[in-house]
């Protein structure tokens, strides 16, 4: 249930003021996630109040080394999401209150989502034939 909940674009310098404003207004941090694109990373954050979410997206260029100010001092819940983004995407979060130094997610491959891992490489495999399957 989320259609109608807006996705707003932010610049990196709006990242912290927006979080501070939502914290003052009593919002809850719902989630943070990342997506690796060809030339940048997208970081998506969701705040919620009274069962209604507001989402924000910020784009970070891959070069130089992507970093985003930590929100963990504003929303304590942010530290696990930021450690996850750090371990999966190689993002840096200056000001991170609890930094596990890359030991939070013990994946076999270091920074598995930092390269082209999340970028589509092949066309979809066909669905099994059924009455409701879309036409190919």
């Amino acid at each position: 249930m989320s259609l109608g909940e807006p996705f707003n674009e932010l610049t990196p310098d709006q990242w912290v003021p927006t979080a501070e404003q939502h914290q003052r207004d009593g919002f809850r941090l719902v989630q943070m996630t990342g997506t690796a694109r060809a030339d940048h990373f997208e970081i998506l954050i969701s705040y919620e109040q009274d069962y209604r979410c507001t989402h924000y997206r910020v784009q970070l260029p891959r070069d130089p080394l992507p970093e985003l100010p930590s929100l963990s001092a504003i929303f304590p819940a942010a530290f696990t999401y930021e450690n996850e983004l750090k371990d999966l995407f190689g993002l840096s979060f200056p000001g991170l209150t609890v930094d596990y130094g890359g030991n939070f997610l013990r994946t076999k491959t270091k920074l598995p989502f930092s390269g082209e891992v999340t970028i589509k490489k092949e066309s979809a495999k066909p669905a099994a034939k059924s009455k409701s399957a879309p036409e190919s």
Partner: protein
Amino acid sequence: MSNTTIVPFGPQHPVLPEPIHLDLELDDERVVRALPSIGYVHRGLELLAERYDFVEMANVAERICGICSFIHGQGYCQGIEQLMGVEIPPRAAYLRTVWAEISRIQSHVLWLGLAADALGYESLFQHSWRIREMMVDIIEETTGGRVIFGVCKVGGIRKDVDDETLRDVRRRIGEIRAAFDEIATIFRDDPTVRQRTVGVGLLSAADAHALGAVGPVLRASGVVHDTRRLGYAAYGELDWEPIVEQDGDCYARCLVRVREVDQSFDLITQCLDRMPAGEVEISVKGKRPKGEAMFRLEQPRGEVCYYISADGKKNLDRFRVRTPTFANIAPLIHMLKGCELADVPVIVLTIDPCVSCNER
């Protein structure tokens, strides 16, 4: 020079059916801090959404977890349906609600059994799982599966359940509820249960909110928040209120789950009494999801979020799942600080960690 000792907890531990690791920094027997690490069984299921057809991906979504399997499938299908502007038939919505609540009962009763075992109640563990088995039997008879339901599909459900079977389910729900009432009394009133859980692993309402707790962990701290209030599936048409306890300790989290089992019996009964007639699926032939949205549902362990981004092709652009266990890691770290080493297993257990969900 520090006098603290590091004690590893997990990834293999008797109270942990799945691998999660905590480095416990101890001052004598007291936990100074806990350092979590996860990722031991990360499977990359989110990535598969970018490669598989969105219709088939419903089967993968259901395999994120073996306990809340149906609700993962439901959340995925619901998200795709909303992106495509498809409204499923009312009977499908009601049957989805019934199966979701059956999932909640079997998950909570499974947890109650594990909790009983951790507290030293072998017989209570066996009674709990005996009752869970009765629910799993209903799952098998109505869906054909015991772990993976396989009935949720984009556009509704794959398999209708005839009215005679539904009447039988309603009768058996009454019997199972009576059996559950017997063990619920022990979880509520037994002095040993209370001694091991009351005042242990405290989490205040303010901390629960700030640390992003979800589900029974959040509601046991006095915060009224249940994602089912969004009214998805049939929840908007049923009479119910979120279960809330005020004390924020392990006992409160146990009570929330006991009361939620009772509530789920009631929700199933309401659904069966009001079950609409008619079709159970709608054709989505030729339709493709386009756009992006975040969908939220209430799993047994709490709020789960699905971010779906699609560009009108057969495979999704991005599929992301924020599981309740991940959200409850920060509150867990907070609860462990200052507790006794002997209480760590009970506290860890009361967030009902699901590593399988977490390592999707």
